[in-house]
């Protein structure tokens, strides 16, 4: 396959998958709206009661993580499980399309949704809450937030590889909501008891949020390499878990077809 052809397949698959999720309001609306509604409530309405902009600034970073986490988990976790159950995945596997294009398309869809959420959050923070950051901070924060799709997509992939169709949504929610809360995405982590703060240390969303908070100097002070190391290790672990899941699913379907 020529590189040009390969590029075209990747691009078109990304486009089709993006349009597909766009047409799925059950996916698009909550993932786009939840972070914004939460930010409106905790960041703008509650957060600007004082004269200090510390709260709206802090939660901008954490709801940004929340906003990127949603599309990645749901797109990969629920979407993948669903496509496998309905046979769409099998259909795609029978086409000459490289498997990479499928994964690339999913990551791109998550990235684009994430970017939309991030842009909307930033606009709301800037114009409704009055948050002002240095130019480099706006760009760095956006960059750090969007880079989060990588570990979160890996986590989604792991879930999608193991969970079956309808239960996948439930599993994703079981991971998504508690992790968001325990990682301090809804309320600042320092407001939690110590035990809960210890749990957060194991969660990828916590480390990603800390990196985002580092940009605005509101993180808990752990070194950047620690966060990066945890995120890389967990991403690799998720990918390994996903690979195991696919292998099991393949042998399972092979046994069934025999």
């Amino acid at each position: 396959m020529t590189p040009g052809r390969r590029f075209r397949i990747y691009l078109l698959e990304a486009r089709f998958q993006f349009v597909e999720v766009l047409r799925e309001p059950m996916f698009a609306i909550p993932t786009l709206a939840f972070p914004l509604i939460f930010y409106l409530f905790f960041g703008v309405i509650m957060g600007t009661r004082g004269v200090s902009l510390a709260v709206p600034t802090y939660v901008l970073a954490t709801y940004g993580v929340f906003g990127v986490l949603g599309p990645a988990l749901f797109g990969f976790g629920a979407g993948l499980a669903n496509e496998r159950d309905t046979g769409v995945l099998l259909l795609k596997q029978t086409t000459p399309m490289p498997a990479g294009a499928y994964l690339f398309a999913k990551v791109m869809a998550a990235l684009i949704f994430g970017a939309v959420v991030v842009a909307a959050l930033f606009l709301m923070a800037a114009h409704a809450a009055g948050v002002a950051l240095y130019r480099w901070q706006w760009f760095a924060l956006a960059g750090v937030l969007l880079a989060g799709v990588i570990p979160f997509c890996a986590l989604g992939l792991a879930i999608g590889a193991w969970a079956r169709g309808r239960s996948a949504v439930a599993v994703v929610n079981l991971v998504f909501l508690p992790m968001a809360m325990l990682s301090g995405l809804w309320l600042p982590i320092y407001m939690f008891p110590d035990v809960m703060q210890d749990i957060a240390l194991a969660l990828p969303a916590y480390h990603h949020a800390q990196l985002a908070l580092k940009v605005i100097a509101m993180d808990a002070g752990q070194p950047v390499p620690t966060h990066l190391a945890v995120l890389v290790a967990e991403t690799l672990a998720f990918l390994a878990v996903a690979a195991l899941g696919f292998r099991r699913a393949d042998s399972f379907s092979m046994r069934r077809s025999r």
Binding site: L11, R15, S52, A119, L133, G221
Partner: protein, 606 residues
């Protein structure tokens, strides 16, 4: 396949549009507006900052409430029982520190205002015009809304004739021997000097030869200061002179040295002597050092006054010789030995700026191994204790409410200290905008005397009104020189324009006001008329309207020919909107580099 290709193109277009819109959104988001002044609704005078991480001068305290009443701290501690109706500021996510104390500055023009705008609420001036210091001192006793940092000053500095400290155009009574020490110190005490500053500098550390007081005289001045109940601090630039000054009984050294790394044994001797050191790393490392350059980069340019910009852009002539690492190592060793270290910037020397450089000094002290709390203590309580300034540098009951609220957690990273949310001086909010603070409304400008003649130099250097002085680019870090003398009834100006600055200058300035650089209203006058002759090169008349020019002052050039020539420059020819407001008229040589000689006489504003 055609439609697939079509879709590829459309997808790419949309992707491109998406990327452009996304970056466009990011690029148009608001950035912190310095000119906005303090955040809306920040309380002052009587209020509380609640649930804040406070640095009380010694240590960080979590979850503190700080209750300010009538400009003083009434209570500070955890979970205070605050009145229901007390205005309060949510301090979560921020750090509250005592107003910073810069342990080594030189004050003039807008430096006190600039210092305050960057959270330096008190400066310890290590020599300035005694008249300026005397005029500033009363303000520090008042608890009132102010626009300037409080000044404590050594006033005039003790140095040898032509020694270091005499080159800045401020009056200095020099000393020639130990027998003059007592009288000299008493004169300073009468002038109001808060301590005595002595220059012990022969230039050897800079490959220069500078006349210096001898050791005996330094020792005599220290002894005389102690006899008068004043502390004595010494400017040194070598380890050898530092050790000598310690042996003479100095209370403090106002620089660290860059010539030699101090041994552990000597560092211990400094500790045992109880002497403190103000390292002034800001002028010891290169002004292009990464920490300092980053600080300037992270500072909104509109926050900087013209003088701050000028001095920050300045560089020591010829650059700094190597030695910054030695200075760093010395600070490291002195700290390890337990020597008291006081943060100070030596601003506004070339490469530094009043106020702003204090945040660079904190970064450098942290780099030299000081912990975040330790560095902040050096810039607050330790500085206050070293110089015996009561009531400052601490957040505690009864202290002045000189407070700085900084975004983020300084306990973790002191290099964030410049990210200031609000500054209170005596409990009053400080407007951080340039020029907004007491910029001198037009109503305060005195009218000019009826007389049009400024000076005919028949009876010497005196002007009919106002005063003459020499002015050179040394003010902004240049090395040009000027000498003025009256000869045969005319003012003879000689000197040399030195390379190093983009716009070097040197010459004389006439300031018409009762105070230096005080503007005077010459409405109704049309021209400046004077007689000149000289070496045939080009000179400028600069018209300075305010004490804080926003950039180079408007100027009109002239040639000083060999024969006496009358010149008349119309005020309207100066490229400024207010040529009738004159704070100073400077007659200066500029480029090209080299020696110059010119004379002026019969100066008139008519």
């Amino acid at each position: 396949m055609k439609s697939a290709r079509h879709l590829v193109g459309r997808s790419l277009t949309w992707l491109a549009i998406g990327v452009v819109v996304f970056t466009g959104v990011l690029a148009t988001l608001p950035v912190p507006q310095a000119a906005d002044g303090p955040a809306r609704g920040v309380p002052e005078e009587t209020f509380a900052i609640v649930d804040v991480t406070a640095f009380d001068g010694e240590a960080f305290r979590q979850g503190w409430d700080v209750w300010v009443e009538d400009g003083r701290i009434r209570h500070a501690g955890q979970k205070l029982d605050l009145p229901e109706d007390l205005p309060r500021l949510d301090g979560r996510g921020h750090t509250l520190i005592p107003g910073l104390i810069d342990g080594h500055v030189h004050s003039f023009l807008s430096t006190l205002r600039d210092a305050l705008r960057f959270g330096v609420t008190t400066v310890l001036d290590q020599s300035t015009d005694p008249a300026f210091a005397a005029a500033q001192r009363p303000a520090r006793e008042e608890v009132a809304r102010g626009t300037e940092a409080d000044l404590f000053s050594a006033g005039m500095t003790a140095t040898a004739p032509e020694g270091h400290g005499t080159q800045y155009g401020i009056p200095v009574e020099t000393l020639t021997g130990p027998d003059e020490a007592t009288e000299w110190v008493r004169a300073r005490k009468t002038e109001g000097s808060d301590w005595i500053k002595i220059i012990y500098e022969d230039g050897s550390a800079f490959d220069m030869e500078i006349p210096s007081l001898d050791g005996e005289t330094v020792a005599a001045v220290i002894a005389a200061a102690h006899a008068e109940g004043l502390a004595a601090v010494v400017h040194v630039s070598t380890l050898e002179t530092a050790l000598e000054a310690m042996a003479f009984g100095a209370d403090g050294l106002v620089h660290v040295w860059r010539d030699e790394v101090v041994s552990e044994a000597d560092a211990r001797r400094f500790r045992e002597a109880g002497i403190f050191v103000v390292p002034t790393l800001s002028v010891m490392v290169s002004a292009d050092d990464s920490a300092l350059a980053a600080l300037v980069r992270e500072t909104d340019e509109t926050m900087l006054s013209p003088i701050q910009r000028q001095t920050l852009d300045g560089r020591f002539p010829g650059g700094l010789a190597e030695g910054g690492d030695v200075a760093m190592e010395n600070v490291r060793r002195l700290r390890a030995a337990g020597v008291r270290l006081v943060a100070g910037t030596d601003s506004p020397n070339p490469g530094t700026g009043a106020g702003i450089s204090m945040h660079g000094e904190l970064r450098l002290l942290a780099r030299a191994g000081m912990g975040n709390a330790e560095a902040l203590a050096a810039a607050t309580s330790v500085a206050a204790d070293a110089f015996g300034i009561a009531g400052r540098g601490r957040i505690a009951e009864g202290r002045l409410a000189d407070l700085v609220l900084v975004r983020g957690d300084l306990e973790r990273d002191v290099s964030r200290s410049h990210d200031i949310v609000a500054i209170w001086k005596d409990g009053y909010l400080v407007d951080r905008a340039v020029g907004s603070a007491g910029a001198g409304p037009l109503a305060e400008i005195a009218p000019a005397p009826a007389e049009t003649l400024v000076a005919d130099f028949e009876d010497g250097f005196e002007a009919r009104f106002g005063a003459w002085d020499v002015t050179t680019d040394q003010l902004t870090g240049g090395a040009s020189s000027a000498n003025a003398a009256v000869r045969d009834g005319a003012l003879v100006v000689t000197g040399e324009i030195a390379p190093g600055l983009a716009f070097p200058w040197a010459g004389v300035i006439w300031m018409p006001g009762a105070q230096p650089m005080q503007p005077v209203d010459f409405s109704g006058r049309e021209a400046i008329r004077f007689r000149t002759r000289g070496d045939g090169r080009q000179y400028s008349v600069m018209l300075i309207s305010t004490a804080e020019p926003a950039g180079p002052p408007p100027a009109v050039t002239f040639i000083a020919p060999e024969e006496w020539t009358w010149l008349e420059i119309r005020l309207e020819d100066f490229p400024t909107a207010t040529p009738e407001i004159i704070a100073g008229l400077a007659f200066v040589a500029e480029e090209p580099v080299g020696a110059y000689t010119f004379e002026v006489d019969e100066v008139e504003v008519r």
